[in-house]
């Protein structure tokens, strides 16, 4: 059977299509159909000829097969040093083989390539920093994912996720109205405690345009409230767009480059429409990478930058603490062993290695912060990056992959792990569930909201009168 009804080469771009896919529980039929999916070798080879240029070809050619990348890969370490988990082996035996065979590969090969591309690499890019030749296997896996996606060999959740972006401009089925309604509801819930708390929607020429991860609206609405509270206390002139509010990109994880472009353009359109001074994105790693680091290239922006200066939430927080816009009550600082998870997507891949540590210096009592080893740009992936967390089909492999992060955390002796990234946050939650090591995990927003000194004029009236 060349094309399945659920598993095929066509992207999903209708709400009905998404509903149909979602109705196939865990993608059971989808993966069954995948086993019979044919490969369009001509299209595959033509795509490679058009898009695989000297950078990747040279990487594949000059790889000395020296194995120095082995120890850099957390999946190699987590899988008891299985030689099949050496980054160079993984890419040579998949992308390398497709190119050597000029696209003439069969179904079994593509099924294997899909597993390697999504369950044996999280595109954390750590190996790229350990290769003497500067070969970044993570980049090549991102490229391989695009080829797999084109041929229909993509994990069920990733196909749905990319489809969501195509239909809703968000990773979940949330419309702009749903989003704004949720935000307004959360603000209402908190306005008694924080008089004057609002969510300014579509305000032009604001200082800040704030963008989020759709699942904050769907599953963690308190995150929206916390963002509003922190901007409110800091006295920021901020706004949220009713269109182009989603920072994330499951399309990037899926390798659906056309959807990546559509998604970031919706955010860039909001920037151009509202003309904010800056865009600030929520505490998410891949979302920052998608919209701020990679997005400009998908959108064809030669400058490599979004239309307005765009920063990660931790950059704004560090700045607000540094300038005194937000003040921490020293008595409420964290006084237990605490560590920090560096997100690959904005630390290794966007240079923000000191920013979260600056925040730590304000919110943790001296002596209680213990860094993981290795850390900063050499930190290991949380274990669930690149979409790995979300793929049920590869859950077993993901849980094995969590072991490296588990051991890193145990070695610090920390009881609390600060994880300013949705993927890292999920992975650490799941590793606690899986291995029960007795830790808690948190984003920065809820921690900081609890330790703020609220200026008198922003306090609820009764409290203000008492003092």
């Amino acid at each position: 059977m060349p094309e399945g009804t659920l598993c095929n080469k066509k992207p999903v771009d209708t709400a009905e299509g998404i509903t149909t896919l979602l109705a196939d529980q865990s993608g059971k039929k989808y993966y069954e159909e995948m086993k019979r999916l044919e490969i369009d070798s001509d299209l595959l080879w033509k795509t490679i000829q058009n898009t695989c240029k000297t950078r990747i070809r040279t990487w594949l050619e000059i790889c000395a097969h020296c194995g120095m990348c082995a120890d850099s890969c957390f999946l190699y370490l987590a899988n008891d040093r299985d030689p099949k988990q050496v980054p160079a082996y993984k890419i040579q035996s998949t992308l390398g083989e497709i190119i050597r065979k000029k696209g003439k590969v069969d179904n079994a090969f593509m099924l294997h390539a899909m597993e390697v591309a999504w369950a044996q690499c999280t595109c954390c890019n750590r190996c790229g920093t350990y290769c003497p030749h500067g070969i970044d296997t993570g980049i090549m896996f991102g490229y391989l994912r695009g080829l797999c996606y084109q041929q229909g060999f993509v994990p069920w959740e990733m196909k749905i996720g990319a489809g969501m972006h195509r239909v809703y401009n968000a990773q979940m089925d949330i419309t702009g109205e749903d989003y704004i309604e949720t935000f307004e509801w959360m603000v209402e819930e908190n306005e008694e405690e924080y008089p004057g708390l609002t969510v300014p929607v579509d305000v032009e020429d604001a200082d800040i345009m704030y963008t989020v991860n759709a699942r904050e609206a769907k599953h963690y609405p308190e995150d929206l409230a916390e963002a509003a509270i922190l901007f409110h206390i800091a006295g920021e002139n901020w706004t949220v767009p009713s269109k182009g509010w989603e920072l994330t990109s499951l399309a990037m994880f899926a390798g659906d480059w056309a959807a990546c472009k559509m998604q970031v353009e919706s955010v860039y359109d909001a920037m151009e429409r509202l003309r904010p001074k800056r865009m600030i994105g929520t505490e998410c790693g891949h979302a920052h990478r998608a919209t701020v680091v990679e997005g400009p290239y998908w959108a064809g922006r030669k400058s490599g930058r979004p239309p307005v200066e765009s920063i990660h939430y931790i950059e704004w927080l560090a700045e607000a603490l540094r300038t005194g816009k937000l003040k921490i009550d020293p008595a409420k600082r964290i006084k237990e062993p605490v560590t920090l998870q560096d997100s690959c997507n904005y630390v290794r891949n966007h240079g923000l290695r000191e920013t979260a540590r600056e925040i730590i210096s304000y919110i943790v009592e001296p002596g209680y912060f213990i860094d993981m080893s290795p850390n900063k740009e050499h930190n290991f992936c949380c274990g669930g990056g690149g979409g790995f967390n979300g793929i049920g089909y590869f859950r077993k492999q993901r849980n094995v992959g969590l072991k490296v992060k588990r051991d890193q955390i145990i070695a610090t002796g920390a009881k609390l792990v600060i994880a300013p990234c949705h993927n890292c946050w999920d992975a650490i939650r799941d590793l606690e569930e899986e291995f029960d090591i007795g830790i808690r995990w948190s984003f920065l927003k809820p921690l900081i909201v609890k330790m703020l000194i609220i200026p008198d004029h922003l306090k609820p009236e009764e409290e203000g009168e008492d003092e």
Binding site: A70, S72, Y89, Q92, T129, G304
Partner: protein, 225 residues
């Protein structure tokens, strides 16, 4: 035989190597694409250049990077071999006398005892790299015929050079074998994995530009290699 090896074959192999290198270098940089690679190379030439230089020199320093430091024994063998195979061919007195005669110029030279030491160091290191390839599962799994071909091709001029140097057996046989194997290396450079002799600089420069521009460089963060 000797006349052919030191005449047309010498000029031919050197020419192929140099022209091949130039062509491949040109092809490499010409094939970089800001949009496909997702690096705005031309927009930030200074940042890109700084990133490229940093990415190259850090890796040229023994134990200068996290990568080298995490694998100290491999690093010793790597540098032992590469220092030998770069310094001896270029700076051996005998080679420079030959260069002067054939091309009319010569380079800085090192004394023969130093060259001997470097050659032995290179051979010892290469034997270790061969052993490593045989023993370590993470290296063995990827090793193919081409890897062995390149290893033995690199070993040949070193061994034949030493045999000629110590005049073991038939000197002229070893000398000719040495010249021939050296020329084979020159011929192979542009067409095999030995292209890393120069493409190492291209590839490292590219990743350096990536970090120097996109992945933190514009934020003012210098990648700690």
């Amino acid at each position: 035989m000797h006349a052919v090896l030191t005449g047309p074959l010498f000029y031919g192999s050197l020419g192929v190597c140099i022209i091949g290198m130039i062509v491949r270098f040109y092809q490499y940089f010409n094939g970089l694409s800001w949009q496909l690679d997702r690096v705005a190379y031309k927009e930030y030439p200074v940042m890109g250049f700084k990133g490229a230089v940093r990415s190259i020199y850090k890796w040229l320093i023994p134990y200068g990077t996290y990568g080298w430091r995490t694998q100290p024994v491999m690093a010793a063998a790597f540098f032992g071999f590469h220092i030998g195979v770069v310094f001896v061919p270029l700076f051996l007195i005998g080679h420079n006398v030959f260069l002067q005669e054939k091309l009319g110029f010569s380079l800085f030279t090192i004394s023969n005892p130093v060259a001997d030491g470097l050659t032995w160091m290179a051979i010892g290191s290469l034997l270790f790299l061969i052993l490593r390839r045989l023993v370590l599962p993470e290296v063995r799994i990827m090793t193919d015929k081409k890897d062995w071909g390149v290893l033995f091709l690199s070993l040949a001029p070193l061994v034949t050079g030493l045999l000629a140097r110590y005049q073991i057996g038939d000197y002229s046989l070893w000398l000719n074998a040495h010249i021939l194997s050296g020329e084979l290396v020159l011929l192979a450079i542009p067409f095999t994995k030995l292209s890393h002799v120069f493409l190492f600089f291209a590839s490292r420069a590219q990743l350096g530009m990536d970090f120097g521009i996109k992945r933190g460089g514009l934020k003012g963060t210098k990648m700690t290699w």
